[in-house]
Symmetry: C2
Subunit: 367 residues, 2 copies
């Protein structure tokens, strides 16, 4: 194998493929990046089995071939080389030579035949969506995935397509995040993507209008964007029937300025943290929301103007769950819907109806 | 006690005083900040005994008094409050009340009488130096202090004043850093400041021409800048006679471009790190410096144009020590002086003679 490639584009390719390499695999070859020459390109592939990323970069191929090279040290070497053309070729002793200006590295490589084959996916595109919108949808839901493996299906995000709608849903038993977009497709899909791999996908998606194409198979999802393909396995099993959890009615509706509410709850949580409970109490009455919290160090009382429809209510929450949601939402004004002090609270945008957040209250002893 | 103060200036004062609070003291009062009213100011003091920082901020005093308040939570509360006037006053139950717009905190305080008295220092100013110069001198030497306590005196930086010169010196047995500035004083001083406290001092010093005044007592050093006083204890014992360590002659002198040399050694160290030895070899001959390193993963060879005076030489170093120095130095070209492959190497600026770095070589078996 022998090729030359511009440092900057090789570095970008490695950085993309490397996102699938955990560096912790017990299979040495999975700590490496597969480099394969193909026409006037090289194909770089990283994989941890659950997630595989393949990206192509322009190169001048002088001799075909394929090798696997340790991702971490290869990435570090290329990053530190001068901004110039890099020559790479195989030499004796299972090694490659990396040349750039007056730098010369030799590095042991692994055997390309040992690298696992990627799932063969027939790219009948199921749907297409601007990268920045999918990136935002992932960010808006992934924080609500379960962080422990008690119920593995909850560590993933549901991709649900029906009635020309794409819904992303995550929930962990304490809160739920639902984010929707209209989609031009007549397909119906119900698949759960591991949160861990979706996190890497979201890093590769750009804040751009350019589309990402998405294909599903019974066991995998494929994201195609530009020169890059990302393949993730799906989680097995059925996702929770989340619709039955979201209340459709409410007794109390409050409209609040998002930034003000976030600031009040963040300040209240300073005291809540000290008690290790994160407990904040909301008392809603007369166009006013009073937020209180206390610990052995002292107490805090915050007051916020709101627009109120319905009956007064007292309710308590883990402040972290409210803060997570209020930080993710992006409209200036939000709507909170309550039914009782022991029923979930819904948070929605005031204007654009594309997300629903649900947070369970903490039951207080004196209720 | 009762006062009002602008949030931004109170926050800045807390941030300064807090730099002396480690938060790990077994004396609860030392995890707090002492707040004392004084004329139309409040004085904020933090201390961990070794280091004390006192800063004054403008406030409207409505009732005199003094309290100690937990530094961490007090700092977090003030930081999160809106940008407006903050009212603070003592209330019942050993508590204070913090009011700002519609926020109200109560917070338990500690007794000001339990707070240790700061050393009484007669401020006969010994010398005065622009803040940004002292900040740079600290940065240029502190990295070479010893990180373990085997020889406590080496965990500090020597402040040496004689012949109208201020020298800062640090050394750890493997390398030495010396940084000098001319000073308008006839005094002679020899004092060692703990690296730990100097690190905090350096954070408070601004990149400004404004002076910091420095006073020494037999056991303490006082830095006065603007509204802030920083008092550090000195380390006991005599510093090493560092002058006898620095060679005054050399057999080989090499002039190199600093950035290029740094890049070469950083790349070589990528391979050196893999072998856990950090070993890089320099081979100097014919206007050329060849830098090599190897590990079980492979090898690297870097080549650099230099200006050479003297005999060819082969010498090896721990790459970390060279990288630390080359990152700190700021001239484009540097001078390296060598005597033999087992003698220390000196690094100096090519133009301005205000620093000397010494790095011990690693003795190779085949020398």
């Amino acid at each position: 194998m022998r090729f030359t490639c511009e440092k900057s584009i090789l570095q970008e390719g490695i950085s993309t493929a490397q996102k699938a390499v955990t560096g912790k695999s017990t299979m040495p070859v999975l700590n490496g990046i597969l480099i394969k020459t193909f026409n006037n390109e090289i194909i770089l592939t990283g994989s941890d089995i659950d997630l595989s990323i393949e990206t192509r970069v322009k190169a001048e191929i002088l001799e075909e071939g394929s090798i696997v090279i340790d991702a971490k040290i290869f990435g570090e070497i290329i990053r530190k080389l001068p901004n110039d053309v890099i020559h790479i070729n195989t030499i004796d002793n299972n090694s490659i030579e990396i040349l750039c200006q007056k730098s010369r590295f030799t590095l042991i490589h692994m055997n390309a035949d040992d690298f696992p084959e990627l799932p063969n996916i027939n790219e009948n595109m199921i749907f297409s969506i601007p990268q920045k919108i999918l990136k935002n949808m992932i960010k808006s839901t992934i924080f609500a995935t379960a962080q422990d493996d008690t119920r593995p299906i909850l560590t993933g995000v549901l991709f649900e397509i029906n009635n020309k709608n794409l819904n992303l849903v995550a929930l962990d038993g304490y809160r739920l995040a639902l984010r929707s977009e209209i989609l031009e497709t007549d397909n119906t899909i119900n698949a759960v993507i591991p949160g861990k791999t979706l996190n890497e996908v979201s890093k590769i998606l750009e804040e751009e209008d350019e589309n990402v194409n998405i294909t599903f198979t019974p066991n995998h999802i494929l994201f195609s964007l530009g020169e890059t393909k990302i393949i993730s396995r799906l989680l097995e099993g059925d996702f929770i029937k989340y619709n039955s959890i979201i209340p459709s009615e409410y007794n109390l509706k409050a409209i609040a300025k998002r930034a003000d509410l976030l600031n009040c709850i963040e300040r209240a949580s300073l005291m809540a943290k000290e008690g290790n409970t994160n407990l904040v109490k909301l008392s809603i009455e007369d166009e006013n929301m009073v937020i209180t919290s206390n610990s052995q160090l002292g107490m805090v009382r915050e007051e916020l103007n709101i627009i109120l429809q319905g009956e007064p209510l007292q309710i308590a929450f883990n402040s972290k769950y409210l803060i997570d949601v209020l930080k993710i939402m992006d409209e200036d004004e939000i709507v909170m819907e309550f039914s009782s002090s022991v029923s979930p609270c819904l948070l929605k945008n005031k204007e654009v109806n594309n997300c629903t957040y649900l947070v369970l209250p903490v039951r207080l002893l004196n209720h």
